[in-house]
């Protein structure tokens, strides 16, 4: 079986044709794992960023801890988690989320810090409460920087999802792992090409979303 496949043509379109359903399922799985990781990552990062913005002294420890999470090799992190959470989606998501935190927190804090003091003073001076100031002024103005962070995080996570194939998850990584085990190039190429394509598409979509959300940042007229 293995040798028969290895002896065939380098890229087998007939295999792709016969497995369209399975490929689509893996694409969906890949996107789901990514979306969950970015969603949960954003919620946690937003919470930690609020803490860091409110109590400035917590910013250094927060970036220190998330920085360590970011630097642990992904393979090692998943391996470390398996004894606790098994070969599960939970294990995959814990790992994926932990890689988004540093990027997201840095960009949220930098984005909010980047709001000019005059804008803040004018807002507070006109009667904004702290809460409304954050949601109606600071957050929208920080949006370009925050979205830039989300784009980096999304591309990173799409790449890392393939690694979760070693714990039985993986989305398109499933094909890469299977292909490597069986020297079946078609599967490897499909897995790699589609995950790269996903990363590019998601990045473009996010960039487009940002442009739509921040029309004011585009129009720069007379200074």
């Amino acid at each position: 079986m293995i040798t028969a496949q290895a002896a065939g043509p380098f890229f087998r379109w007939d295999w792709v044709g016969r497995n369209l359903g399975a490929i689509w399922d893996r694409v969906v799985e890949h996107l789901t794992l990514t979306a969950i990781a970015i969603g949960i990552g954003l919620v946690i990062a937003m919470g930690l960023s609020l803490v860091a913005l409110r109590w400035r002294r917590t910013y250094a420890p927060i970036t220190w801890v998330t920085g360590i999470l970011y630097t642990i090799p992904s393979l090692a992190l998943f391996a470390l988690l398996v004894p606790f959470t098994g070969l599960s989606t939970l294990t995959a998501e814990i790992g994926l989320v932990s890689y988004t935190l540093l990027i997201l927190i840095r960009n949220i804090v930098a984005g909010i810090d980047g709001v000019s003091p005059e804008v803040r003073e004018a807002a507070v001076g006109m009667g904004y409460t702290r809460r409304r100031l954050f949601f109606e002024i600071e957050l929208p103005l920080a949006m370009p920087v925050i979205v830039a962070g989300i784009r980096i995080a999304a591309v990173t996570v799409i790449g890392l999802v393939t690694v979760t194939s070693i714990i039985g998850q993986g989305g398109l990584g499933f094909f890469i792992l299977r292909g490597l085990n069986s020297f079946f190039w078609t599967q490897i190429i499909v897995g790699v090409a589609l995950s790269v394509l996903l990363a590019v598409i998601i990045d473009l979509l996010l960039a487009g979303g940002e442009r739509a959300l921040t029309p004011w940042a585009r129009r720069r007229g007379a200074g």
């Binding site: 000019s116 005059e118 804008v119 803040r120 003073e121 004018a122 807002a123 507070v124 001076g125 006109m126 009667g127 904004y128 409460t129 409304r132 002024i137 929208p140 103005l141 921040t214 029309p215 004011w216 940042a217 129009r219 720069r220 007229g221 007379a222 200074g223």
Partner: protein, 368 residues
Amino acid sequence: MSDSPMIRLDAVTKVFPGTDHPAVDRLTLEVAEGEVVVLVGPSGCGKTTTLKMINRLIEPTSGTITVAGADVTAVPAPELRRSIGYVIQQIGLFPHRTIADNIATVPRLLGWERPRIEARIDELIDLADLDPAMRDRYPSELSGGQRQRVGVARALAADPPVLLMDEPFGAVDPIVRARLQDELLDLQARLRKTIVLVTHDVDEAIKLGDRVAILNVGGVLEQYAPPAEILRSPADAFVEGFLGSDRGIKRLSLIAVRDATLVEGPIVDAAATAAEAGAAMAQHGLDWFGIRRGGLVVGWAAGSDLDGGAAPADLEPRPFATALGPDDSLRDALDAVITSHSRVAPVFDGARYLGMLTIEEISREIVQ
């Protein structure tokens, strides 16, 4: 009502944490309703601190502040601030909101109904003399002067009785600044707000203030009086030094041309003879004369124009290069006089000739 001040600072002191000298020291100041009070003084004398204590962006260390008779600490700070207009030098327009949305800021915070907000935006765009086409533009697409107008419109949106302005025209060039100052005076004549304005520019203080408060470093009030009084009798050496050596000229800016004594000048009828024109010139010691035609002074001619034996009727009157209106100040008149070849400034009310001003008339106004 009009007896009790709109804003009252009573022995207000601010000592910032970590400093041992007060930024503002036992300042007592009353601002009447509908009055423009300008705080002026050298950098770091506590002008901004004083202003920000009124809307509680800075809390005083001691002393009390009342606005419209109520202690400012009686309501939560955000609520207080929605009832006080606030304009800062950098304006602080929200870059992510259109001009209309910027103007709508306080009405939205106050929870006005949508149609009422829309109507108010239109009103303010008109009031601030902005092009209605700017409604949907973003602040980055406006010039500095336009942004400044939007800043004032935004501060006036909820029709607050009190307006606080911190160096509102500090960031625009002198020509635009002069125009914005005129517009503010114009606006104030219609709206009668109670305005506290901070500046470090004495000329601006004199031009805009009904009363001027001169502060010294440490937030010490040196003199608080109408500009004319401050210029006529500075309270002390500090005030005198701060006003500068051209106090006399500054006083001229407070006197309107309409209040000065004008002279008729060498004006002759177009039908007059050359001899009559010569006599009029000799009487005023000038080498030119104005020509009146059909009751209107239409221009002037030089004495040398008559040399060839021409009569005034033969001459083509030359238009006056500079003409003053009754609302111009004597400072404008002085400028016109010293820059004109004829050394006089004719005054017109529309097409009607009122008379002319010379150096003598102008200096008589300060000396008396």
